[in-house]
Structure formats: structure tokens, C-alpha cells
């Protein structure tokens, strides 16, 4: 027995309400973040990740309020991502009760920001989010690049090298999303996940593409992920977190039950 693999539900928050994720535009029924967070906590979620997808920066203050509310009632680790660009943004979220912040675009624009944030607030609270897409042709050596803007804009940065660099800059964890798989329900990109997980010394959270409980197990067993993140399978109550954990256990994975 030892460290459990983590299951992390992800909640997309728009102007203070939970929505079902940017990919599911036609079914954006909102929910109360505190209520949903509490339900996931009761089901045994190991952590919660909130992604602020609010378009206008005027509404960012709302997210701070959401984090404050959740943190005063739910006593598991909270990660907040979306629009974290300055040390002040980091400080504001941590002070509101977040345990970690997830940095994505700002890391690409200004890699030193990750180093500064890790030095100032500690590695443990800096998660670097990587959105990657396969760029190799069939038969070639697998290669993935970082994409921004929801997977639309290539950066030319190699994903594995980038993960190693962020590791060296003091990131405490990598949140890895396959933009090829995100929203497809076809499962994680396992080759990508394994390539990154084996290249870094820090934990890797796999994300993007979960449609079944087998996908979660594969991400851990084959992708070597330390944690798995999913949104829609939990939001639509296809599976509860507890069901997911019991299933992982049958696959020989250590979980917290």
C-alpha cells in the first residue's frame, strides 16, 4: 500500500456558474459551484480543479468569490486555472483558498513567470497546464507540440521538452491535455501521457478524452499518469467518483476509498 492515484473532476466556471465545458456548447446548463464541489467531495474526489472560462476580465473577481465559498466548505485540495498571468493573480487565488494555480498561456508567453511563481509561492502550488497535439505523420517517431487558443494555434514548442523545462523551472505538477482527444470520449492520448510522465520527475495529471472508466484506468496503467482528470463523465452523472474508484481498484490501482 502507498500513495493513491488521484481522480480529479474538473469544473468549468463561467461568470460564477459551472458550465459543462467549452466543447459542449449546446448543453450549457449551469450549476452552483459550491453545491457541485460539495457533491464531488462527498463522492470521494481527491481534488477539484476549477477552470475559469469567463471571457471578460471584468468578471474575474467572481472566480475569487467562488473559490472563497468552496474553500470554506470543502476540505480537499483545490486548483484554479484560467487567466492566471501575474504573481498578483496567483496570490489572489491562493489567498482566496486555492491550493494550487494552473498556469497555461502565460507560461508560454513568459516562461520565467513559472520560475518566479514557484520561488515566491512554492513549487507545490504551481501547476503548469500543457495543451498538446500530435504533429507526426503515420509511421514517424511520435512528436507532440504545444497549442494555444483551445488547440487552434501552434507554437512550434515540443511538448516533452517543454514539460522538462517547466519541471526544471519549479513546476510542482503537470496538467497534460491532449487537444486531439479533448471532448472526443475516445480516451487519453496514452503515448503522449507516458512520454511526458517518463520525461519529468514531478506528477502528471492526464486530461482530455475520457469517456469510460477503462480510459481512466488506462491513463494510469499505460499512460503512467499520477492522477486523472475528467469533466463530462462526472458532470452528466454517467459515473460517480466512487464508482470510478471502485472500478480502478478492480484493475489493481490503489485509490482512496
Amino acid at each position: 500500500m502507498g500513495l493513491a492515484k488521484r481522480i480529479i473532476p474538473c469544473l468549468d466556471v463561467d461568470r460564477g456558474r459551472v458550465v459543462k465545458g467549452v466543447k459542449f456548447v449546446e448543453i450549457r446548463d449551469a450549476g452552483d459551484p459550491v453545491e457541485i464541489a460539495r457533491r464531488y467531495d462527498q463522492q470521494g474526489a481527491d481534488e477539484l480543479t476549477f477552470l475559469d472560462i469567463t471571457a471578460s476580465s471584468d468578471d474575474r473577481a467572481t472566480m475569487v468569490h467562488v473559490v472563497e465559498q468552496v474553500a470554506s466548505q470543502v476540505f480537499i485540495p483545490l486548483t484554479v486555472g484560467g487567466g492566471i498571468r501575474t504573481l498578483d493573480d496567483v496570490r489572489r487565488m491562493l489567498n482566496a483558498g486555492a491550493d494550487k494555480v494552473s498556469i497555461n498561456t502565460a507560461a508560454i508567453a513568459q516562461p520565467e513567470f513559472v520560475r518566479e511563481a514557484a520561488e515566491r509561492f512554492g513549487n507545490q502550488c504551481i501547476v503548469v497546464a500543457i495543451d498538446a497535439k500530435a504533429v507526426h505523420q503515420q509511421g514517424e517517431t511520435p512528436r507532440w507540440e504545444i497549442f494555444t487558443h483551445g488547440g487552434r494555434r501552434p507554437t512550434g514548442i515540443d511538448a516533452v521538452a517543454w514539460a522538462q523545462r517547466m519541471n526544471a523551472y519549479g513546476a510542482g505538477e503537470i496538467l497534460l491535455t491532449s487537444m486531439d482527444r479533448d471532448g472526443t470520449k475516445r480516451g487519453f492520448d496514452l503515448d503522449l501521457t507516458r512520454a511526458i510522465s517518463e520525461a519529468v520527475s514531478i506528477p502528471v495529471i492526464a486530461s482530455g478524452g475520457v469517456g469510460t472508466l477503462d480510459h481512466l484506468a488506462d491513463g494510469i496503467l499505460l499512460g503512467k499518469a499520477d492522477a486523472v482528470l475528467a469533466a463530462s463523465i462526472f458532470h452528466f452523472a454517467e459515473y460517480s467518483i466512487e464508482q470510478a474508484k471502485r472500478y480502478l481498484q478492480t484493475r489493481g490501482i490503489e485509490v482512496r476509498l
Binding site: 488521484r6 470554506s72 476540505f75 512554492g122
Partner: protein
């Protein structure tokens, strides 16, 4: 009069969750996040948290002129160390090229280094991050009501190595068994984050709020 709990705020990390969790389990207690010597010395109970690096932690403690207050509280009243807190209480830490710590309890703080799972041979990630089991080595009032081998949330790259093995009250396996909780007299200190450890963590904090060593 309701009991008062001071959470020492010396600029190392977010203490809001610690305060919220204590308020949640001990609604009658007066919980205060404070850097004032007077508040800490007057409080019935003291929580000594910590996050980040040990160098910054010790630097900030000195800058806020709180070293002697921490020592005093650790000798005199129910005292709960969290995460970096217990590391600072020992004699020495390997972090930041080696740092002399407060020496309230005898022992060292050691880096995990390159770890492998003894069963599978797989490389283990550092920091040790996530939910791991704590084996209660002795009975203690702060373990009351918490099932043996319950899981708590950890995030750390260095671990406690008390010089006196009887200080260890909890151990956790990560490549090997390390000490995850220490206690002596009025001090109880844990490597994990009870404020982030759901039911088990809340129970530990509730026990602390009622502890009269």
C-alpha cells in the same frame, strides 16, 4: 470562555484553509490568523503551519521576530505543526544547501532523492503528492476516532527523521517507511495537510481543538 486558537502567520503560504477548517470543526473556538506575538502568547492553542522552502520559512520567522514565541508556545501549550512546521521544529534540514532549524525537537529533515517502488521497481515522483496512508504507531489523543491507516493529503519533497524514534507517532510508505507525524508532550506535528484531508483531517483538527495534554 471559548478557547482561542492562534494560527501563526509569518507570510508562508495560505492560512485561510487552515483557519476555515478549524472554524468548521470548532465553531465555538476563537480562531485567529496572526503575526502578533501577544496573540500567540495569549492563545490557548497554537498552530504552526508552513509552506514553501525552509530557508524562506526561517527567514520570515526571524523577520517577524517570532522565533522565541514559537519556541515558547511549543514548550507550553497544545501546539500543532503542519507540513513545513514540523520540519522547522527539528535541528537541521538538508533543504537549500543545509539549514539550521529551531531545534525544538531532535532530528533532521532529509530529501527524498531518487526513489523507486520496492515492489515494482518503478520510479516514484517527487514531490510526494497526494493521498497516502498514515500508520498510527502509538495511541494519541489526536488520533482518536481516526481509523488506522487512514489516508491524508501530502505535498512534500523532504521528510522528517527524528533522532529519537519514540517521537514518531505516524509513518507512511513511499518507497520506504518515513515518519509522517511526530509528537512529544504538548506538541503534535504532521507532514501532511489535515486541513485538506477531508473527514480524517477534520477529525484530527477537531481532536486538536479539544486536546488538553
Amino acid at each position: 470562555m471559548a478557547s482561542s486558537i492562534a494560527i501563526i502567520d509569518y507570510g508562508m503560504g495560505n492560512l485561510r484553509s487552515v483557519a476555515k477548517a478549524l472554524e468548521y470543526v470548532a465553531p465555538d473556538a476563537r480562531v485567529r490568523v496572526t503575526q502578533h506575538r501577544h496573540d500567540i502568547l495569549q492563545a490557548d492553542r497554537v498552530v504552526f503551519p508552513g509552506q514553501g522552502s525552509i530557508r524562506d520559512c526561517l527567514h520570515e520567522l526571524r523577520r517577524w521576530n517570532l522565533v522565541d514565541v514559537v519556541r515558547e508556545a511549543a514548550l507550553s501549550k497544545p501546539f500543532l505543526g503542519l507540513c513545513l512546521g514540523p520540519q522547522a521544529l527539528l535541528d537541521f534540514s538538508e533543504e537549500n544547501g543545509g539549514m539550521e532549524c529551531l531545534g525544538v525537537l531532535p532530528g533532521r529533515v532529509v530529501w527524498f532523492g531518487e526513489l523507486r517502488d520496492p515492489a515494482t521497481g518503478e520510479r516514484l515522483k517527487v514531490p510526494h503528492m497526494g493521498w497516502n496512508q498514515v500508520h498510527q504507531l502509538h495511541q494519541h489523543p489526536l488520533w482518536r476516532g481516526i481509523p488506522q491507516d487512514s489516508r491524508f493529503y501530502f505535498v512534500h519533497s523532504y521528510y522528517l527523521q527524528p533522532a529519537d524514534p519514540t517521537l514518531a507517532v505516524g509513518s507512511t510508505a513511499y518507497g520506504f517507511d518515513f515518519t509522517s507525524a511526530i509528537a512529544r508532550h504538548n506538541i503534535f506535528a504532521v507532514q501532511f495537510h489535515p486541513e485538506k484531508s477531508a473527514q480524517a483531517g477534520l477529525r484530527l483538527l477537531a481532536n486538536f481543538a479539544e486536546w488538553n495534554p
